[in-house]
């Protein structure tokens, strides 16, 4: 990466402003993930409602990032690492926006689940999974700001752990539902939540991929282990 400034300092300010928006978005999405999982575990409907309300701010920021990126492309014709900066902010903002939507969806299901008796311990497992994804997101965004490809690569590898957590929860919910059909409604909601958090992990991995592209100019080879085994569950059980 190039550390020196542009001759036209206004160009530097434009690029810094877009990246600041990404960081702000990242902060909002991280707290949406944490708060939605917390609202589920603590059955806090007010907190869930707050997460749902705050999603509008995330969406608005994504819109703003895209507008500013289009402006920079049109007015400054960026090249090389400047171009990659603009391309990556557009993709990362889309990834963050999706994660925000998943957190909002989690909060919606919280409002439903508080009326039910979900199986013991499930919400705690989900919160642990959400915390892991939030930690990955924090590191991916740090890697972005520090242009740290090694940290980004580590984040990509950690997605495997999230996939493992999801596999475990999938089996757990399946068991609960087989044990007692009255668990089906709550377990279906919990399963969607777990799946959405697993998808957030994929979006964070995509952010990490973008960091590697930004730093090296090349997309990483797809060698990371794929952890979601649930499509094969029945085949494995026979």
């Amino acid at each position: 990466m190039n550390e020196t400034n542009h001759i036209q300092s206004v160009f530097d300010r434009d690029l810094e402003a877009i990246q600041a928006m990404i960081m702000k978005m990242g902060g909002l999405v991280e707290s949406a993930i944490i708060n939605s999982a917390k609202s589920l575990e603590t059955k806090d409907e007010d907190l869930a409602a707050q997460v749902r309300r705050n999603d509008a701010a995330i969406d608005a920021l994504e819109e703003q990032v895209n507008q500013e990126a289009a402006r920079v492309l049109a007015l400054r014709a960026p090249t090389a690492s400047d171009l990659r900066t603009v391309l990556t902010v557009m993709k990362i903002s889309a990834n963050l926006e999706r994660c925000g939507d998943y957190a909002k969806n989690l909060a919606k299901r919280t409002s439903v689940l508080v009326q039910m008796q979900p199986p013991e311990g499930a919400a705690t497992s989900i919160r642990r999974m959400a915390r892991e994804v939030e930690g990955m997101m924090k590191d991916a965004l740090d890697a972005y700001i520090q242009r740290d490809a090694a940290l980004a690569d580590e984040v990509r590898r950690r997605d495997h752990d999230v996939d493992q957590m999801y596999n475990a929860l999938f089996r757990e919910f399946l068991t609960f539902m087989m044990e007692d059909p009255r668990n089906i409604t709550s377990c279906m909601h919990l399963h969607f939540i777990a799946k959405n958090i697993e998808r957030m992990g994929d979006h964070v991995t995509s952010i990490a991929d973008q960091v590697i592209y930004l730093v090296t100019g090349e997309m990483p080879d797809d060698t990371r282990p794929k952890g979601d085994r649930t499509p094969y569950v029945n085949m494995e059980k026979g």
Binding site: N2, T4, N5, H6, I7, Q8, F11, A77, P78, T79, A80, S81, D82, L83, R84, G217, E218
Partner: protein, 265 residues
């Protein structure tokens, strides 16, 4: 995957038209070009970019021995055109320049008619047996210069009476009239407005069907728009040479990066 590339950006393996090895240029004591090695492809537009004084124009002028006209200039190393050493004493520079045409920064039509501007080269090189043949050559060159329709009814009017953009296209027509194999362009659009620039750029793109075009430009956007290969010169060195898309998205050398992104390098 490669089949999906935009065709006009595709750089297929082309024949090497010009091969330069260990080229040095001195202006008196000044060492202007240092150890330049480059292979320029046939039927390709190659752009030379770099800050003022980096040697890009000097190197361009080596390719048709224009530096011979400067007393204090001295060229060392090898430059081969189709495998032949152009600095061999047996090579006649005038014949060489018929094969390696040049277009300059400022349009410089001769103070003659439009027709004579284009006919001059073919005449002195004896390319036409009679008037009818010469007429044909002039028309073909003006068509290739994408200016035929604008001047066909006033071929006897002075070339200097045309607009700047038309004059530059006339100069390009003049350069292609001798059927060159290589066309060197030294900032051909810097004196033109955006519309005339776009016309010349369109013309450059058409010319690459038949010629190897080498263009020196201060406009990086122009280099990005018209060329398939880009060479970045800095302080007399050829710093980086590669496919234009790669140079502008992911340059390998930090000096190239600093230059094309507009940073102080």
């Amino acid at each position: 995957m490669n089949d999906m590339r935009l065709t006009e950006r595709a750089v297929d393996s082309k024949d090497v038209k010009i091969a330069a090895r260990k080229v040095q240029v001195f202006y008196g004591e000044t060492h202007a070009i240092k150890d330049v090695d480059v292979d320029i492809d046939d039927k390709t537009v190659t752009a030379f970019i770099g800050p003022s004084g980096c040697g890009k124009s000097t190197f361009l002028r080596c390719i048709n021995r224009m530096n011979d006209t400067i007393d204090v200039a001295r060229v060392e190393g090898d430059i081969h055109l189709d495998g032949e050493d152009i600095y061999n004493p047996k090579v006649d520079p005038v014949q060489l320049r018929a094969k390696v045409g040049m277009v300059f920064q400022k349009p410089n039509p001769f103070p003659k008619s439009i027709y004579d501007n284009v006919a001059y080269g073919p005449k002195i090189h004896g390319l036409a047996k009679n008037k009818a043949e010469l007429d044909e050559i002039v028309e073909r060159a003006l068509r290739r210069g994408a200016i035929w329709d604008e001047v066909k009814d006033r071929l006897q009017e002075p070339g200097t009476g045309l607009s700047g953009g038309q004059q530059q296209r006339l100069c390009i027509a003049r350069a292609v009239a001798t059927e060159p194999e290589v066309l060197l362009m030294d900032e051909p659009c810097s004196a033109l407005d955006p519309i005339a620039t776009a016309q010349v750029e369109e013309l450059i793109d058409e010319l690459k069907q038949n010629y190897s075009v080498v263009i020196v430009t201060h406009s990086m956007q122009q280099a990005a728009r018209v060329s398939q290969k880009t060479a970045f010169f800095h302080l007399g060195y050829l710093v980086e040479y590669g496919e234009t898309g790669q140079i502008f998205t992911n340059p390998k050398d930090s000096r190239t990066e600093s230059y094309i992104t507009g940073r102080i390098g």
